[in-house]
């Protein structure tokens, strides 16, 4: 299947990041150790109905967008105005908020890549982007108008489908950049962001496309937040900056966040030949399923098989492992022990960037992929904020009959999990992301040296 000699380079990136005005601001805040998590005024409007009120949200104003509400008393955004003139009105009319971020991120990534219009619009350029959830904001108001208010279907407007369909981000980006190659979405819950990049990588590696715009998105939506709050899996009881605490013994859930991470991929020799700035080379991508029939519970066996698949080519020896690290009670430590059992207890650093901006759901994998690109560029490992105390005792799952993994508590791995930024030589980073349904994704990227 793999076309001989083809390698894949990352040549551009862009997106939307909580509290950040652009990618440079995101870079600066990450490596200044700043938190991008805040109390969310929208959640605070429902104090008796919502359990967690912190989030990594992004407002329209922060992205220089304005939502147009045809009926002032409703929150329904009929369309958006882009005050920076980045996206034409025609394209904004078919987009929900996440789609607008995806289009902005795509334009930024293409600009950084330096692709010509001819290259961008080529049959050899694909778009592979998705979000984890549906177009919940648009759908909620359409359904409310029909079911609760008894309005005719046309009151939902003629853009409910294109603004809420599952692959709306890919469709909107494709219509904006006018590529003539594939336009698809890979949807796999919180592995979506990395899964789309992985699929795009394979399209190029297998010789089906030469370029791809790819990534994941999760538009700010209280409607999305509500579902996770109902599951009682969100962090509660800490100040906003202290709420996301991967590996810490007091962690009690993840911080629901929103954002977009879009990257430009290109066949390596083509990128090299035109003098492109190679941000990273993708060494391997592997994904699998837990296969244990459990929708939610993380699988040590599934993650061990994920590592074996990723390392099958013999070219994976990371300096940094960028973990999924959501700060849920079980997930972090199963992931930790699967990492150390797979690649040993020394010689690398673990990094959980969700500690600074929370869990961006369908965007998590791609935004964290961008943090990996920035770690390669800056030659620094991001801090594991709030991982103040690691458990000195075994986890419950390690004490159950049949457990065949490491029998050390998390505190034994403190040397891998720095609370501070670490400056060191970084040549390779492995990125890990998982999703509901037992889906697992892993990608190894390297510096182009």
């Amino acid at each position: 299947m793999i076309a001989a000699g083809r390698k894949v380079a990352v040549v551009g990136m862009g997106g939307a990041f909580p509290t950040c005005k652009d990618l440079n601001d995101f870079d600066r805040k990450l490596f200044a150790g700043e938190s991008m998590i805040r109390e969310w005024p929208k959640a605070l409007q429902y104090p008796k109905q919502i359990r967690s009120t912190v989030a990594g949200y992004i407002t329209e104003e922060e992205m220089n967008l304005e939502a147009i509400h045809p009926v002032p008393e409703t929150e329904w955004p009929e369309t958006y105005v882009d005050h920076l003139g980045r996206i034409p009105d025609m394209n904004l009319a078919t987009a929900d908020l996440g789609c607008v971020w995806a289009m902005i991120g795509a334009l930024e990534a293409i600009k950084m890549a330096g692709w010509t219009t001819e290259e961008t619009e080529s049959e050899q350029t694909g778009v592979v982007i998705a979000s984890g959830g549906g177009g919940n904001v648009v759908s909620r108001h359409a359904w409310h108008a029909f079911y609760e208010l008894g309005k005719k279907t046309r009151m939902a407007g003629s853009h409910t489908v294109d603004r809420a369909m599952s692959y709306r981000e890919a469709a909107n980006v494709s219509c904006l950049i006018k590529n003539k190659g594939v336009c698809e979405s890979i949807i796999s819950a919180c592995a979506t962001g990395l899964g789309n990049i992985g699929y795009a990588y394979r399209l190029i590696k297998f010789g089906l496309q030469d370029r791809a715009i790819c990534g994941g998105v999760e538009g700010t939506a209280l409607e999305t937040f509500i579902g996770f709050d109902a599951m009682q899996v969100l962090s509660k009881g800490f100040s906003p900056a202290e709420s996301s605490r991967p590996f810490d013994v007091k962690r009690n859930g993840f911080v629901c966040s929103f954002g977009a991470g879009i990257v430009a991929l290109e066949e390596y020799e083509m990128a090299k030949a035109r003098g492109a700035d190679i941000l990273a080379v993708i060494d391997e991508y592997f994904n699998n399923s837990d296969g244990d029939g459990n929708m939610f519970y993380p699988s040590y066996d599934g993650q061990r098989r994920l590592w074996r698949g990723l390392m099958a080519g013999g070219n994976v020896k990371p300096d940094v492992v960028k973990v999924h690290g959501t700060a849920t009670p079980v997930g972090d430590i199963i992931e930790l022990v699967s990492v150390v059992e797979s690649i040993g207890e020394n010689g690398y650093s673990i990094c959980a960037p969700k500690s600074q901006f929370g869990h961006m759901l369908g965007a998590a994998g791609s935004v964290e992929f961008i943090t990996a690109l920035l770690m390669l560029k800056n030659q620094k490992v991001l801090a594991n904020k709030n991982s103040d105390n690691l458990n000195t005792e075994l986890e419950n799952f390690q004490q159950k009959p049949g457990w065949n993994g490491p029998m050390k508590p998390a505190a034994e791995y403190r040397h891998l999990i720095s609370q501070d930024i670490v400056a060191k030589e970084i040549n390779q980073i492995v990125c890990l992301n998982y999703g509901f349904g037992g889906t697992n994704s892993a990608m190894a990227i390297s510096r182009d040296i």
């Binding site: 147009i68 045809p70 369309t79 009105d89 025609m90 904004l92 009319a93 005719k152 046309r154 009151m155 407007g157 003629s158 853009h159």
Partner: protein, 93 residues
């Protein structure tokens, strides 16, 4: 009763509606007459006509039957005719 003033008022109201439809290039709203065609002259996406109809209902405080919209033509005069017909239908009820 239908007269030229009424049609002019409706056209002005319709233009107000069309200015809020962001898939229509504002430049194409210059010099709109009753003979202007939404699809061929304004380059309006066909899917947008239902949005225009819904906005017209709110603007003129009327409600079209589904059949009214099914029969609606794509010229400005077709929409004006429909608005007048629906208003008269409401008045006769």
């Amino acid at each position: 009763m239908e007269n030229s003033n009424e049609r002019k008022e409706i056209l002005d109201g319709l233009l107000e509606v069309l200015r809020t439809v962001r898939t229509i290039d504002p430049a194409r709203l210059e010099g709109v007459t009753e003979e202007t065609d939404f699809l061929t002259d304004m380059n309006t996406p066909s899917t947008e006509l239902i949005n225009i109809a819904a906005k017209v209902e709110q603007k003129f405080d009327i409600e079209f039957e589904d059949e009214d919209i099914d029969r609606m033509g794509s010229k400005v005069k077709d929409v004006i005719d429909l608005i007048i017909m629906v208003k008269e239908r409401g008045a006769n009820k």
